[in-house]
């Protein structure tokens, strides 16, 4: 689709204690692309993510982001990456606004209050919730806060871990449209999930992961979402 690859795995393998978690992964993700890694429990999704985030080292092969090998330039890579963990728990005793302020400072990024408000509006978080403590937020609201943080980071690459798990359909739709908008603005999105429907709605490319191996690949043609049935069949069939 696009020329220069932003995220790439080249013969990537990860072995822990004689067990092969990831076996010879090869793929490329271009700029502005929404890429979904689909797999069941235990397929190796978290390991893949952790490798690209620099939290784990590949045993053989390379994982690269922005042309840099993650293992060798962990700090540099982490600066250009935003991460949305699964079932994100930010600090319960701080408000959404304070959480964002805190993590931005941790990242060494300065943003004005206006920029933060803009981001919060973009993710459609109600204004009267901005200064409530996070312990009072619903799951969807917490999700939105985390995304707002990712947006504010202005990172060219976003890594998302099971972003739609636990969200209601309305929230999923909101999430999908946000992701598409970010991609259209040039961000590269790498998503790890087992939500077939959600992935099909938003991804440009879906790749199936099973037992550490890539077992299938689907691409969107034009503006039509990828065929859910086909992906589902391939996904379930591989069990």
């Amino acid at each position: 689709m696009t020329s220069k690859s932003v995220i790439s795995a080249s013969e990537l393998s990860v072995r822990i204690d004689q067990r092969t978690i990831l076996d010879n992964l090869n793929f490329e993700v271009g700029k502005g692309e929404v890429f979904a890694l689909l797999g069941g429990n235990g397929a190796g999704k978290s390991t893949t993510l952790k490798t690209f985030l620099g939290l784990m080292k590949p045993s053989t092969g390379t994982a690269s982001v922005m042309g840099m090998s993650v293992a060798d330039n962990t700090n540099e890579v982490q600066k250009s990456v935003a991460y949305l963990p699964e079932s994100v728990t930010l600090y319960g005793h701080l408000s959404g606004y304070e959480n964002i302020r805190y993590f931005l400072s941790v990242a060494g990024v300065e943003k004005t209050d206006d920029a933060i408000h803009e981001a919060l509006n973009k993710v459609a978080l109600q204004e009267n919730a901005w200064h409530n403590t996070l312990s009072n937020y619903s799951k969807g609201m917490r999700q939105k806060t985390a995304i707002a943080l990712a947006i504010l980071r202005n990172a060219p690459v976003l890594f998302l871990d099971e972003p739609t798990s636990g969200l209601d359909p309305a929230a999923i739709d909101e999430f999908n449209s946000l992701v598409s908008e970010l991609a259209n603005n040039g961000a590269t999105i790498f998503m790890v999930t087992h939500d077939v429907y959600g992935a099909c709605q938003v991804a440009h490319r879906i790749v199936l992961l099973s037992n550490g191996k890539l077992t299938g690949s689907f691409e969107r043609v034009g503006d039509t979402p990828i065929d859910t049935e086909a992906v589902h069949a391939a996904f379930a069939g591989r069990k």
Binding site: Y83, E86, Y102, F103, S105, A107, G108
Partner: protein, 442 residues
């Protein structure tokens, strides 16, 4: 590298937790209360010394005016000896509540007097002292554990750990600044009351700095232990409270088990004479002398005091109705017969103390307590130094009285003005006592 921004942000973060502010308040209160109680105690001790000095003089005057022979004076006149509390004693009671720091000494055999202990209420000593040294050596580590045990584990359990590390520009900076922002206020609330009280007590700058360094040292050591356990790879999967149990275990082992085991081992290694034996031996020698021929006593006495060899003859007209010379001679001989045991007893105490020093290398709490005691001069050595001063004073008394009894038995009150006075370590005497000392000295 940490930036000022990191510190500012983490400070805001850490202080946003109510438990942290509460903990700081509690430590501040504990520190202040412990210091205040030690201060009050030392004030009371000073006042006691001053009262006792007064009474001591009055009483000695009364005795002197009643008597008309040196022998009687030597028998009845008591002298107060004391070790005033050092400027830092308010913070570290140390051995002052176990060893005696005051005696009333007279010319009679020293071995029968020096082991008397005018120590405090044993039930209170048994409960233990709540002084600053206790807060720093035992309580502070517990607070450090409580504050830092879940530094990383908490984030792991809340699944923020990866988010933090990935998002951070410099993840080390985050953890380091969070740790510093926790420890520095803790150090401050502990030390600021101490410094305040130390200034009030006229402590020297050097000793205050030394004590602060020790406190900071113990905070560093315990933080290092806590952080090392928290960051260790092999404990990465443990829950935060499991980690805390490990840390408490370390605290327990080093604070309780190591010292007690050391105590048992040292007692087994070092041969200590029974205190009871010293006094029994001395008493036997003294009382046996009554039955022996007088010459036997003189023979022994002359061995160690050849300068009086020509003065041993007793003349009732010159020396009074009772042979005081001989009486005090056998008191001294009694002491000498017990001197081997007595020296061994003191040596054993010193040796045990030395060995305890080695044991303390395995126990941060014990080491802190000892170092603080050393700085405040309330350690075992200081108390032994006091005991040796008392012995030296007794020796000077004897010299004075021998001079009179042997060489110049004609009683004259004016000669008694030369009676030696006990002087404590001069650096610890306050201004008021200094003047009193000056007027008493020869």
């Amino acid at each position: 590298m940490m930036r000022f921004n990191d510190i500012k942000r983490e400070a805001g973060f850490v202080f946003a937790h109510r438990q942290f502010k509460l903990t700081l308040l509690v430590v501040f209160l504990l520190s202040t209360v412990a210091l205040w109680s030690g201060h009050a105690e030392m004030q009371a001790q000073q006042a006691t010394i001053e009262r006792l000095l007064e009474k001591d003089t009055v009483e000695r005057e009364a005795v002197l005016s009643h008597q008309n022979s040196y022998g009687m004076v030597a028998y009845y006149a008591f002298h107060l000896t004391y070790a005033p509390p050092s400027p830092l004693a308010f913070a570290v009671v140390g051995e002052r509540d176990v060893f005696p720091w005051k005696h009333r000494i007279r010319m009679l055999a020293l071995e029968g007097q020096i082991y008397e202990s005018d120590t405090d209420n044993p039930e209170l000593a048994f409960l233990g002292r709540f002084d600053f040294a206790f807060v720093v050596s035992v309580l502070l580590p517990l607070f450090i554990i409580l504050l830092l045990y879940d530094l990383k584990a908490k984030e792991r359990e809340a699944r923020r750990f990866d988010l933090l590390n990935v998002t951070a520009r410099n993840s080390h900076a985050v953890w380091t600044s969070r740790t510093l922002v926790t420890l520095v206020p803790l150090a401050l609330v502990t030390l600021i009351p101490f410094i305040a009280f130390a200034i009030v007590n006229d402590a020297s700058l050097r000793s205050i700095l030394l004590a602060c360094v020790i406190v900071l040292g113990t905070i560093s050591v315990w933080s290092a232990i806590v952080l090392a356990i928290g960051a260790a790879q092999r404990f990465a999967k443990y829950s935060a409270t499991h980690l805390a149990s490990l840390m408490l275990g370390v605290c327990l082992i080093t604070t309780v088990i190591v010292p007690v085991t050391g105590h048992t081992v040292i007692n087994a290694i070092v041969d200590t004479p029974e205190g009871g034996d010293i006094v029994l031996t001395q008493r036997e020698a003294v009382n046996g002398a009554w039955d022996k021929p007088i010459e036997a006593t003189w023979e022994k006495f002359i061995e160690t005091h050849p300068q009086w060899a020509d003065y041993t003859a007793y003349d009732p007209k010159r020396d009074g109705s009772f042979n005081w010379k001989w009486y005090f001679a056998f008191q001294q001989v009694g002491d000498e017969s017990a001197s081997e045991l007595s020296n061994a007893y003191q040596q054993a105490t010193i040796q045990k103390n030395q060995l305890a020093g080695y044991v303390s290398l395995l126990s941060p709490s014990l080491l802190t307590q000892r170092l603080l005691s050393n700085t405040a001069s309330t350690n075992v050595q200081s108390m032994i130094n006091y005991e040796n001063k008392v012995r030296a004073f007794h020796a000077s008394l004897r010299e004075f009285y021998y001079q009179q009894l042997f060489a110049a038995p004609e009683f004259s009150e004016s000669s008694l003005k030369q009676l030696p006075q006990f002087t404590p370590t001069s650096q610890f005497t306050r201004k008021t006592m200094n003047t009193q000392e000056n007027t008493n000295e020869k």
